[in-house]
Symmetry: C2
Subunit: 323 residues, 2 copies
């Protein structure tokens, strides 16, 4: 939620010219994105988003992320398209940072999604999974099953400050997930962070996906489970079955889930809830009280995890199998 790096107008003019984008007309720092510095840039050729990569993004991952945007855009997914420099590079330097400039997407995120939005999202997610199949670079999921224990180890001694019993609950859940995690599901490129604030709508139709900085290779159905967690709970963390049914129907209209994926859905939903519970708990415990970036309250994902723990069959999510 902050600009971390200032850009000099003279440097930016040269950067814009070097990317064949004409003359600079306006630029403003955007108060979005905790990881990087983002500017909204207007030139005589159009509107763009400039990103300066701060330390939290591994520079070695940038070719994967930017190549993915390029690949997805070329394969019909509405997402920011990287603009190459005169020498053909997607990542150059600006203000002492690795920098990339991408096309501007119209639309805005929806604070209170409806079932219609969820259906649209599910359909686009399946299209994203199809489009990613021909992408040749790969990136492991650093926040997948293998990443959860090391992350939990960083704060488990302080974890009961969130709520009494928190540490034991998570330890038990990690054991259960290790024993029950499905390892034979179809994998490919997943977004892995497709919350409503990363999805734009225009006139109530999905207009684009943003923020691919958690994208990686993992089970497609895990991405579905992440979206069920992110889109289908109300403000009291009650599951909205109509939203789940719409999201799953939208997804299956483009990519029917296998019987194995269907059966694994409750387990994947528990894993997805655990992943966000862990990162939010860590940030909650490690963000200074007066920081302007407010961490998300981890209690929401605690309640969502507890919901999934009660689920025994995927019908609870509104799944209608094609059988």
């Amino acid at each position: 939620m902050a600009v971390y790096t200032d850009v000099d107008d003279i440097e930016l003019k040269a950067f814009v010219a070097n990317h064949g984008l004409g003359d600079l007309v306006s630029f403003k720092g955007i108060a979005e994105g905790v990881e990087n510095t983002n500017y909204f840039v207007v030139t005589t050729t159009g509107r763009y988003i400039l990103t300066l990569y701060e330390q939290r993004v591994d520079r070695a991952d940038l070719p994967f992320f930017l190549g993915l945007l390029d690949h997805l855009a070329a394969n019909g997914i509405a997402c920011p398209t990287p603009i190459k420099s005169a020498s053909g590079e997607q990542v150059t330097e600006l203000a002492g940072r690795a920098a990339a400039i991408v096309s501007f997407l119209e639309g805005f995120c929806i604070h209170s999604p409806t079932a219609t939005h969820c259906r649209d999202l599910g359909q686009t997610l399946a299209r994203l999974h199809h489009a990613g199949k021909s992408y040749t670079l790969t990136r492991p999921n650093t926040l997948g099953l293998a990443g959860w224990r090391p992350l939990f180890a960083k704060f488990k001694n302080d974890a009961d400050a969130i709520t009494p019993g928190f540490s034991q609950l998570v330890a038990d859940e990690l054991n259960w997930l290790d024993e029950n995690w499905p390892n034979d599901l179809e994998t490919g490129i997943i977004h892995a962070d497709l919350f409503p604030d990363n999805v734009f709508f225009l006139n109530d139709k999905l207009s684009g996906l943003i923020d691919f900085y958690f994208a990686c290779n993992d089970a497609f159905a895990l991405d579905v489970a992440i979206c069920l967690n992110a889109w289908c709970f109300d403000n009291s963390d009650q599951f909205i079955k109509d939203h789940g049914a719409a999201l799953l129907a939208g997804y299956q209209s483009e990519r029917p889930l296998s019987s194995n994926e269907c059966a694994s859905l409750p387990t994947l939903c528990r894993g997805a809830a655990t992943r966000f519970l862990l990162t939010r708990a860590y940030d909650w415990l490690n963000t200074k009280q007066d920081a302007l970036v407010r961490p998300h309250d981890p209690h929401h994902f605690l309640k969502r995890l507890q919901f999934h723990q009660q689920v025994t069959t995927p019908d609870s999510y509104g799944l209608k199998t094609n059988a």
Copy 2:
């Protein structure tokens, strides 16, 4: 440098429609402005800036500020123009805040102004002073001479933490200013904060002025002195006489300074430096170390004040009188 208030898409759609601006296309929080929350808004009719007024701006002052923008724009000054609501109001409510939406200005601020930029700025400042003469609302300068002692009293006991002897230096300066301040200069609407980051250029021509939230009634020549402080020192706080000469020549091309104003310039420059020294010293001492908004280092204005203290005639600023 932060968005303080989140806006809901449904509320914003209604707000945009109520201001006759068509359908919402995009909106992004802008990481500019410490006092208020600003959003860049695109609709089917154009680009706008939405401001939600946070507690640091006195709501009773909003009719003065927004009326002034309207008046100046109607009188040929390039500045944001308030868009009225269906019922004719410049200030309405959004997200529990007083809110206004204004036209978007093309251009961007210059990090390292040249003499040409300074001349352009001086000329526009004089035009602003002329254009403000027919504005009927008034607002006292709360950060003018009478405001400096109360502000200093808030931190003078801690002031030597900035540099040894700081407190005595400021106390002496305030006494000197009280004795020497000119009270017979022409007054009118002044911007009072026309630093380079509040002035946009496009193709190296001045394209607009922003951020009028310190505008008030005071001596026109004080505004000139503020600009000499803000535009005519290099990064080592050395005065650049060519910049001063260009700024003053630009100003005088539209509004020649009276002999009284010319003679008062060194005193007004000391006062202007003291005003920014005081607010920056206060912010420096009262901003938490890990806040994302970094306060300006007050030492720059200490050095500028010390420069002005050595000045005996306005020629030192590059002033060429018309006599």
